[in-house]
Symmetry: C2
């Protein structure tokens, strides 16, 4: 049976250079070549994240990096603000609780943008923010939220989940005042899942505390500054991600950001023609990583996903309160020549029959 | 530059079916095929580990699985025995300390087997044991150590690192009284690093406590029983490892264990001819995962490893107190036709010139 091509907001269809890297004979992670790959990928990530700071690679999912950042930057009892407007901001809240912080988890409508003026005025040690909220398709106003936190709480650390904005939209850590940002390999980097990173700005680097063992960022940072890793890293995935970043850099990031946005907006335009309501509320910026639509009332998601599967595509549904109620597609992965056009055509034909 | 072939005790040369799995289009981890792979690999691992219990897959290295097991099975303050006779048993001790247990870390000569009669008689909540101590080449008497712990401390939980014995030598969790065992993908499973597992016996399953977030075994177990994973798993590596296990099972495990041992003993025989002293002390059982030799006094390890590199091989040196003093080779990975014979010949020629 032919495997479905992915129109999902992560994982995504692999970039050919990622596949080529995975076809190589196994590299030893203590070899000079591996050390060079670690250095190269760390530098590329920090540069693209817009910081003079440093990236720390971790073997695990984006969630592993979220937890590592929280534990390394905040002591138990720390008061952190978490605006919750979707599944991934909710996850920040859960992780903060598991790490015994005292999160202030403020609920917002799923699909809405978090208004920067709602940053609390009470004492705060930090904020855990989400850039692209993949569960709703909203690109949160990260620069504004961060600026407001920094203005009201100069000592607070600002940590952002850029899992589905990194390499897909501009992320400017230093300009926006972000002290740490977390990302994963299976989104804009078009590589398999299993590799994550925490990017630390200058303040983030200074405020690292030892925490745990495997996810201890301070330990990893020491090792990675020496072009090593503290433990056996997913070196094949590091090689894949480094190859993809090199290929994308050669072609210019700004052009890619514009293209990813344009491709995603095309889905929104087709959805509009079909009479579908976008999940991002009016006024909320749309993430380029996914186009999310409410399904017509009474239309089961399973039926929709089966229609896509019949044409060779895997799409995504909703999570949490949106489960069964929405359809999400994404073109942030790699597409062969003509494949994207086929995706748009199939999307248009399937959604036209939904109402 | 051609990449060196690996004669290292992990990572190892990939099995062709692992490479074939990695060449596939990206699979979505929430697809039915992925759920089936998770189920399949979990079942194969538990069966080969010799338990009626269950395996829990984790995205990360073997160290991640070690930490997950320690935190899930012991509360802070728990008194656990850790016989330290090499780098990996030392790691158990460090992880136990990081998790705020009260480990009793007893030091043994590196290269020695831990005598079962040295199991402490004082109160114990558990023991953290190492099966194949990859840093010295010793296969510790795990069955005897576990039996002695269970006899003296019936309520204590026995946890074993089987990272370089799993799929290379018999591991019989239930027969030996092991409550948990941890393993990784880049050793006997001949897959890339980045996937690990904790196998839980019946008592281990019953005694799980929630711990942390990303490495929380209880959460993962709940998800994996439903053929899901709690977070995005390294599904490409799961597919690779499942394919290798299926291929090896088709060819009979006992034959493989015998073959791996025979291949490794061939290195020891060649080393003896060259006048090299094995690192495993007389009387200690040798792990089939690596052959370890003391270098002649004054012979720099770098010179030896360069001699191997000149012939296309990467070998390993020593760690901790053995750094610079020993040579380790391993043939636990995959070798093409005639490649192993070439490895033996090159090993014989290089070691003959060492004295």
């Amino acid at each position: 049976m032919k495997r479905l091509r992915l129109l999902t907001p992560g994982p995504v269809n692999l970039h050919p250079v990622a596949l080529a890297a995975l076809a190589q004979p196994q590299l030893h992670h203590r070899s000079p070549e591996a050390g060079e790959l670690v250095r190269d990928l760390r530098e590329r990530i920090a540069r693209l994240a817009g910081t003079v700071g440093e990236a720390v690679l971790l073997g695990g999912s984006g969630t592993a990096a979220m937890e590592a950042a929280v534990r390394a930057l905040f002591a138990p009892g720390a008061r952190v603000w978490v605006p919750v407007a979707g599944k991934f901001s909710e996850r920040w809240c859960e992780i903060a609780r598991a790490a015994e912080l005292e999160p202030v988890c403020d609920a917002y409508e799923w699909g809405s943008a978090v208004p920067p003026e709602t940053v609390p005025t009470g004492p705060l040690d930090g904020a855990l923010l989400t850039h692209s909220e993949t569960s709703t398709g909203v690109l949160q106003p990260l620069a504004e939220l961060s600026a407001r936190v920094r203005e009201r709480h100069p000592g607070a650390l600002v940590v952002a989940d850029v899992v589905t904005s990194f390499a897909l939209a501009p992320v400017r850590m230093d300009a926006w005042g972000l002290d740490a940002a977390v990302l994963g390999s299976q989104k804009g980097l078009m590589s398999p899942p299993g590799l994550a990173a925490v990017v630390l700005g200058a303040r983030g680097l200074k405020r690292l505390r030892p925490a745990g063992y495997y996810l201890d960022l301070a330990r990893e940072l020491r090792a990675q500054r020496a072009r090593q890793t503290a433990f056996t890293p997913p070196i094949n995935l590091i090689e894949a991600a480094a190859a993809v970043m090199a290929a994308l850099e050669a072609a210019d990031w700004e052009a890619r950001f514009a293209r990813v946005r344009e491709v995603n907006e095309r889905f929104y335009a087709l959805g509009k023609t079909a009479g579908l309501t976008p999940v991002p509320a009016p006024g909320a910026e749309r993430s380029p990583a996914t186009a999310a639509f409410y399904l017509p009332r009474g239309m089961p998601y399973a039926e929709v996903s089966q229609a896509f599967a019949a044409r060779g595509w895997r799409v995504a549904g909703g999570q949490g309160p949106l489960k069964g109620r929405i359809l999400r597609v994404s073109a942030m992965g790699y597409f062969e020549d003509g494949e994207l056009e086929r995706a748009w055509r199939d999307f248009a034909e399937i959604t036209a029959r939904l109402r």
